[in-house]
């Protein structure tokens, strides 16, 4: 199938396969990217001449976006789980159930993007764009970077969706592994979003 070792099976010394190890290293670099942005947030907030006001009037929108994003991640986790279990849709002649969970996950993630761009547009309409204050500039920067990560996750999910038939036929464990590795990315995106909600909408 392939000459590259440990793409699916666990490597004895690291305890994970190389795909997941690569994903963990990527997430470490992503964490450092957000560390720089959060550092800027705390520095600018602590040094602000006027105290920053949390966007509590938009907390409902943020809660809605949070639920949609978490639902998307849950659907993605379910996709990985059903693929691992080789679960098929009952009565459909062996159709793999993970396809539907993956599709649901993509829909939820796209919905999150719509909610977030709507939120940004609403703030622009109320003259609270990034040019109005340092707080809003940091808000748009951080939520914008996060939105790009969600968009990148959608691209990966769509790629998994499109390439699954051949990969599944030739090497099902590979696609299971890819789903599990991509799920780690979605967990990371969710955690960053929860921190953003607390920092901008709550405190």
């Amino acid at each position: 199938m392939t000459a590259i070792p440990y793409t699916v099976e666990r490597r004895p010394d690291t305890g994970v396969n190389n795909v997941k190890l690569g994903m963990w290293l990527f997430l470490a670099s992503e964490a450092m990217l957000f560390a720089g942005l959060f550092s800027a947030y705390f520095m600018l907030r602590a040094g602000a001449t006027e105290p920053w006001q949390p966007l509590r009037d938009h907390l409902g929108n943020a809660a809605g976006s949070t639920m949609v994003l978490i639902a998307g991640t849950a659907a993605f986790t379910a996709a990985a789980g059903t693929a691992r279990a080789r679960r098929v849709v009952p009565g459909y002649g062996g159709v793999q159930m993970f396809r539907y969970w993956l599709f649901a996950s993509i829909l939820f993630a796209i919905s999150f993007c719509f909610f977030e761009t709507g939120e940004h547009a609403g703030l622009f309409e109320h003259h609270r764009g990034p040019e109005t204050s340092t707080q809003m500039a940091v808000y748009f920067l951080l939520t914008g970077v996060h939105l790009l990560h969600v968009a990148a996750g959608i691209v990966v999910s769509v790629w998994l969706m499109l390439t699954w038939p051949k990969t599944w036929r030739d090497a099902a464990p590979f696609i299971v592994n890819r789903l599990e590795a991509a799920a780690l990315y979605w967990y990371f995106v969710d955690i960053v979003w929860l921190v953003l909600v607390v920092l901008f909408y709550v405190v």
Binding site: D13, T14, A28, A35, S39, F42, L44
Partner: protein, 64 residues
Amino acid sequence: MSFDLPLVACAVCFGAADGPMLDAARLGVLVMAGFTVAMLSAFGLFFVRIARRGALAVPGDKDE
């Protein structure tokens, strides 16, 4: 040449070493340092884990 407004320069250069701007910069550095230490600790633990698991491996048992 005259100025209508006084020049507002960096508080640190003008001796206000305990000003709010410096406190803010300290906080920013602290947050960044916290993330960096956490990440390096994770890498350190990972290498310790590799060393331990490598030591447990049977000699001559090549996986390739």
